[in-house]
Amino acid sequence: MSWLGPEEWQAVALSFRVAICAALLSLPFGLAAAWALARGRFPGRGLFSALVHLPLVLPPVVTGYLLLLAFGPEAPAGRLLDALGLPLAFRWTGAVLAAAVMGFPLMVRAIRLSLEAVDRRLEEAAGTLGASRARTFATVTLPLIAPGLLAGLVLAFAKALGEFGATITFVANIPGETRTIASAIHAFLQAPGGETAAIRLTLVSIALSLAALLLSEWLAARMARRVGA
């Protein structure tokens, strides 16, 4: 693909890294949140659900702004992470956080739907066979919600590839550090005549997500075959 310049390659590589990290990092949290929403009966469940959906409802810029407020270099959370050796501001790690937050509601919903469809009687059976709750979760629930996990990953990955509003607001657009494909496309579109470059990057973005999708479809089909359905 010689028609991509080195800066563009950088953006592609960065986007890919950010999207992968965002999808994988949000997986455990998404799982926990989905579990709480699907199985938990605690006060404030509705509020929690609303909180999870917030990044979907808010304009991305707002989300980015809120992230800046919460994790900026002057906010306590930001300082703490910085001290722990995980600086977020103007780093690609911050882009990961922004992308993860934006994709979070999608991931949670996918996992939650799968969780709600799990046949609880199988979990009962696992218990009578001697599996602790944790083991039941790992060996029965988790494999059964695999389609939801996969869907959640794909959605989060795709969202992360396309996200720029929150990202650019939170960590700006620094070539090689936080300039993802989406930010780059956006930048190109702002200037007259940037269309062709934008189209090139858009195609790359589509190719990346298509690859992720096909991979996920293939995995899902394999799982379905294994279950024999």
Binding site: V61, G64, Y65, L68, L69, G72, P73, E74, A89, F90, F164, G165, I168, T169, V171, A172, N173, I174, R179, H186, A187, F188, L189, Q190, A191, P192, G194
Partner: protein, 222 residues
């Protein structure tokens, strides 16, 4: 159709005009690039107020303007802002930045970014500063980065700096260091649109904009 950065005073001006002329105005704010593309795709807009000349040029080239309606309405100044209250000579910017970031709007796309880059280049600072630039989607975001302390310095319009109490102007870029910052306006249809443009050039309207930090039209209309 107006650039988003004009929103505050333009709303007030439009209200004023409605009272005077009895015409209703419908203002659609967005980035200049978005507006221009919409107009070129056939949007039913009457007036286009752009934040820079390039997009106005593009629209003009597309043949969408009412001939000769284009005027330069306002100007703006480019400033360096920081949270510290002490002024900083522009030449010391690279040292002052050390490892930190300089917040700017996209230096290749957004007008404020383009002007800023131009100015820094003219001052011979761009080479030193470039690795430290954190580009944002728009000027407001750059300003927010400074206001929230994420970046110690930022380059924004004077109008933005005036509206944000948490930052102070550390330096103003000399006018000659960058192309004039011009907000051109043009009518896309004949009739009231032209009247509105004319109204914007009247004293009461210009006063509203001056209040918000805009400077007057940089020169006589071409």
């Amino acid at each position: 159709f107006a650039a988003a950065s004009l929103a505050g005073p333009l709303d007030a001006a439009a209200e004023l005009w409605s009272e005077e002329s009895g015409h209703q105005t419908a203002l659609s704010y967005a980035g200049s690039s978005v507006l221009a593309r919409q107009i070129m795709a056939g949007a039913p807009a009457d007036v286009f107020l752009s934040a820079n000349e390039e997009w106005m040029d593009a629209v003009e080239a597309d043949g969408r303007l009412v001939p000769a309606s284009r005027v330069d309405l306002w100007g703006n100044a480019l400033v360096l802002v920081s949270r510290a209250s002490s002024p900083l000579p522009l030449a010391e910017l690279p040292q002052a930045l050390s490892d930190d970031r300089l917040a700017m709007a996209l230096t290749e796309a957004v007008p404020a970014g383009i002007y800023g880059r131009e100015a820094l280049t003219a001052l011979g600072l761009w080479e030193a500063v470039a690795p430290h630039v954190a580009e944002t989607d728009n000027v407001r975001a750059a300003l927010d980065l400074v206001a929230l302390g994420a970046a110690p310095f930022g380059i924004v319009y004077a109008t933005d700096a005036a509206a944000e109490p948490r930052v102070t102007v550390a330096a103003t870029f000399p006018e000659e260091s960058h192309a004039p910052i011009i907000y051109p306006g043009a009518a896309l249809t004949v009739g009231p649109a032209e009247d509105f443009l004319a109204f914007l050039q009247t004293a009461p309207a210009q006063a509203l904009f001056a209040e918000a930090g805009f400077t007057g039209p940089p020169g006589p209309a071409p």
